[in-house]
């Protein structure tokens, strides 16, 4: 009787294509990833059907659910310039190291005085500090937000020089938490308007358009 021979199959399979694919994907993700900047506050922005994309170079004002205001403007040079003017306006002195730290910092939200204490802190201390911080003051008596905006714009204009093409102009974005009180947002818009900025981008998350 002939023996029924089972074909001998190797238990190991050729994984080369899979590995190729895996590495291709890894490379792709590695190159396309932009690490999310560390944000001191979690903001849950409301949704809208708008499909416009946030421009690259923006001055971003964040308002969290407890109506605290935070400020961000990216760029090392611009930040250093901005901070220097802010320091002299508030009659403070920052050491060299703090100024460098500030240039690398992302979003921040505190008074200039607090900022001086904040910058030399380590990661943990900063986190703690942020929890207690009341944000940048923006009432009409102590309008530091207005100052940041003014000096940010000045520094931006100085760096870009005259004759800036239209698409390179500094844009202004407001990223508010859905649960922030509208009066706070209104006040921020007012601060902008006092400086003749009348065009904003309100950051939202995408929602499906019911018309489509």
């Amino acid at each position: 009787m002939p023996k029924v021979k089972m074909p001998k199959k190797s238990p190991s399979l050729d994984m080369t294509p899979m590995v190729d694919l895996a590495f291709l994907l890894v490379t792709f993700f590695m190159l396309t990833t932009q690490f999310r900047p560390d944000e001191p506050v979690v903001v849950d922005s409301p949704s809208s059907i708008s499909e416009k994309i946030l421009p690259d170079k923006v001055m971003l004002i964040t308002i969290d659910s407890t109506n605290r205001v935070f400020f961000n403007l990216e760029g090392k040079e611009i930040r250093t310039k901005m901070l220097n003017q802010m320091i002299s306006k508030n009659h403070e002195t920052f050491d060299e190291k703090s100024i460098n730290q500030f240039a690398l910092l992302g979003t921040f939200g505190m008074t200039v005085k607090e900022l001086k204490e904040f910058l030399p802190m380590d990661e943990l201390g900063r986190k703690d500090f942020m929890k207690k911080s009341k944000g940048i003051p923006y009432d009409s008596l102590n309008n530091q937000l207005g100052d940041w905006i003014r000096y940010g714009r000045l520094a931006d204009a100085e760096l870009k020089g005259p004759n800036v093409p239209k698409d390179k102009l500094l844009r202004f974005a407001i990223k508010g938490d859905g649960n922030a009180n509208y009066t706070a947002i209104k006040r921020v818009i007012e601060v902008f308007q006092e400086m003749n900025v009348n065009r904003f981008n309100l950051v939202t998350t995408l929602e499906k358009n019911p018309n489509q």
């Binding site: 932009q34 809208s48 508010g176 859905g178 509208y182 308007q193 003749n196 065009r199």
Partner: protein, 206 residues
């Protein structure tokens, strides 16, 4: 090229027939750890990647100028936003006899209302879009024509006012509804004393 290949073949044959056999070594290396690592990295990058930038809604506020008198509007729809996701509306000028009608943010609430008031523009824009699809009109042309329709003198004007309890979300929702219903003329306006009182009358203090 061909030479190289034939050489290789030769050497292959020689290898087979020669007595001195090279020790047979498997050409397979165990790739499992590498694959593990590759997939680990893959998963990591996939989870941390955020595709695309956040979206934004553009808004233009009027220039603040003490000499700039606001336009008198008497055919506008006014929404009053209040805390607890409440919306009230009235049409036309604010008179002592004006009463507020409550509505909500659902699709049967302000959207229906807006579509109703903005019927003309909506149907015109829909026509335009259908025409554009047939004639392969450029997107920019279509956009410009839509803006023209929205900006027509007789098209609906909407005012959005908020009291001190309204949330940012409410305002964005309202603006979003205006965009959905293709209202081109709208403004965020400060609330007046009378309107404020009207809301409070409808919302008895607890």
């Amino acid at each position: 090229m061909s030479e190289v290949q034939s050489n290789e073949q030769d050497s292959g044959k020689k290898g087979k027939h020669s007595k001195v056999r090279a020790k047979k070594q498997s050409t397979h290396i165990d790739m499992t750890p590498m694959v593990d690592l590759a997939f680990l990295l893959l998963t990591f990058f996939m989870l941390t990647t955020t595709f695309g930038k956040p979206k934004t809604m553009e808004i233009n506020m009027p220039v603040k100028d003490p000499n700039n008198k606001p336009n008198e509007v008497n055919n506008a729809l006014t929404f009053l936003l209040s805390g607890g996701d409440k919306v009230y509306w009235y049409y036309g000028e604010l008179k002592p006899t004006t009463t507020l009608t409550p509505t909500d943010f659902s699709s049967n609430g302000i959207r229906k209302l807006l579509l109703d008031y903005n019927k003309n523009a909506v149907s015109k824009i829909k026509e335009l879009r259908a025409k554009a699809e047939k004639t392969n009109m450029a997107d920019t042309t279509l956009k410009r024509m839509e803006v023209d329709v929205k900006g027509e003198k007789e098209s609906l004007m909407v005012l959005v006012k908020t009291d001190d309890k309204a949330k940012y979300k409410n305002v964005i929702d309202a603006l979003d509804e205006l965009n959905i219903t293709m209202v081109g003329k709208y403004a965020l306006v400060d609330i007046g004393k009378q309107e404020f009182d009207l809301i409070n009358k409808l919302q008895p203090a607890k």
